[in-house]
């Protein structure tokens, strides 16, 4: 579980990137918090810099779009999904639970 930032520092429409390996992007979109792998599966753009529309994020390099809920690309050129991660808020602080960590804990 990784603390990200205070909830008030991640307003609706905002995003942050955390320097895990691989890096993770956390979004506040459509009234929800989402976390996905930050690096686009097409080439190497950072999705935390992407364009948010509802719960879709568009890659800033070649406009592949990913569904934040599932990590799946909704259009080319990306063809592989990004991993999604669980997000919780504890004492007003946003936390990410990286997928692999959860896997080992389970």
């Amino acid at each position: 579980m990784i603390p990200v930032c205070r909830l008030e520092d991640l307003p609706e429409g905002g995003s942050v990137r955390i320097d895990t390996a691989p890096p993770i992007a956390v979004f506040h979109a459509d009234g929800e918090l989402y976390a996905i792998d930050d690096t686009c599966t097409h080439q190497d753009a950072s999705l935390s810099e992407g364009w948010l529309e509802g719960c879709l994020v568009e890659c800033p390099l070649h406009e592949a779009s990913f569904d934040l809920r599932t990590g799946r690309p909704t259009c080319l050129p990306a063809r592989r999904p990004v991993r999604t991660h669980r997000v919780t808020v504890e004492d007003g602080v946003v936390h990410v639970h990286p997928a692999a960590e959860e896997g080992t804990a389970a």
Partner: protein, 395 residues
């Protein structure tokens, strides 16, 4: 339409094949490609592939599943050498023919070469085979590399060669590289990236000749100087591959002439990507090669132009660890100013303006605000920008 033939099995050809199936074409789909490789992506060739960060498997544009789903007859290593006057027969090298009802021309462009005999050590960078042979040569130990041409491919290649530890000089005939694309202020900024990467930039002088008997050993400049070189990369642009269409009825002039909907004078023949001159202009960008096929296929299946393309020109380039993004239609005389970040920090957004309207945008490592402007430009919503955020352009 029972048979459609796509000529050119690269980016635009593959996207056209996808669109044909996505738009309901269930007939025979033939794809003819001169290269022996399955469709692969070119932009990484001068970047991550040359650097060894991306292998050949990462260049693939499609996977086995998708290839099966497309249900196409692929012909690799086969060159089309003609199209009959009515556009109903594609002639292949070796004498075979394909009878067809529709044709998508997606033959792209080839690297322009220098005149004179071929010398070993002299490379162009357009195809996977080009990139393989350049990379093999660069792996043989420190080399003196001269890149002829300071455009995007030349700059990226120079950047990659320098990162691999070679000593690199770029020769550009114009006073600054990328002048027509970026204008003087921003061309100067991008030229500055070479120095940061430890690459020498020689401008305002052309190349007179290559020196060497069988292997190149120098580049002679028009002013008499000779730059010693073990490897020369010629990056002086690309010419559209229209030679095979000579003798057809299609109008060819720096590309296959098409209307705004990628349709040629023959309604059952469309052209897409680097080879297509759509509505008077030819683009050599990845994004146009992927955007045009949707409209071209729609018009092909409809039998005439029912839709037009006018995507906002967009390209990106990765050099010396910086990501450059450009969108829009800049014209000479447009004012440019930095509206976010600062040139000296290496991360900024600059807008080009004409009569208070944004015409284009250039960003270096500023993807988010760049995307915002790009979308506004695309929507034709480029509004006058607020003067108060202006900063003078620092050079």
């Amino acid at each position: 339409m029972r048979t459609v033939t796509v000529v050119g099995a690269s980016l635009a050809g593959l996207y056209a094949a996808r669109e044909l199936r996505a738009q309901g074409f269930d007939g025979r789909l033939v794809i003819v490609g001169e290269e022996s490789h399955r469709p692969y992506d070119r932009p990484p060739l001068s970047k991550d592939f040359l650097l060894g960060k991306a292998g050949e498997d990462q260049l693939a544009l499609s996977d086995v599943d998708e290839t099966l789903e497309l249900g196409a007859e692929w012909m690799f290593g086969v060159r089309a050498r003609g199209l009959d006057a009515r556009g109903r027969t594609v002639l292949l090298e070796g004498g075979r023919t394909v009878s067809t009802d529709g044709v998508v021309i997606a033959t792209g462009a080839s690297a322009r070469r220098l005149p004179g005999p071929a010398l070993t050590g002299v490379h162009t960078l357009r195809t996977l085979d080009d990139a393989r042979s350049l990379r093999a040569e660069l792996l043989r130990g420190p080399r003196r590399v001269v890149v002829i041409g300071g455009g995007f491919i030349g700059a990226e290649t120079a950047s990659s060669c320098a990162a691999l530890g070679h000593s690199v000089t770029v020769v550009e005939a114009a006073p600054l590289p990328l002048l027509p694309q970026l204008g003087p202020e921003m061309a100067a900024v991008c030229a500055g990236l070479h120095a940061r990467g430890g690459v020498e930039l020689v401008t305002g002088v052309g190349v007179a000749a290559l020196r060497g008997d069988s292997a190149v050993h120098g580049v002679e400049l028009a002013d008499g100087r000779v730059l010693p070189a073990d490897v020369v990369v010629v990056g002086i642009g690309a010419v559209p591959n229209t030679g095979w269409l000579a003798g057809s009825t299609l109008a060819l002039h720096d590309g296959v002439l098409c209307d705004d909907g990628c349709v040629t004078a023959l309604p059952q023949v469309v052209a897409v990507g680097d080879v297509a001159r759509v509505g008077g202009a030819r683009a050599e960008h990845w994004t146009s090669a992927t955007a045009q096929p949707r409209v071209a296929v729609r018009n092909l299946l409809a039998g005439h132009a029912v839709e037009t393309v006018r995507p906002m020109p967009y390209f990106w380039s990765d050099q010396y660890g910086s990501r450059i993004q450009f969108a829009g239609r800049r014209k000479d005389g447009d004012q440019v100013r930095v509206v976010e970040g600062a040139v000296e920090d290496g991360s900024f957004l600059a807008l080009y303006e004409r009569a208070g309207v944004t015409t284009a945008a250039l960003a270096v490592d500023r993807p988010r605000p760049f995307t915002r402007v790009r979308r506004e430009l695309a929507r034709g919503e480029a509004r006058p920008v607020v003067r108060s955020v202006a900063e003078p352009v620092a050079l």
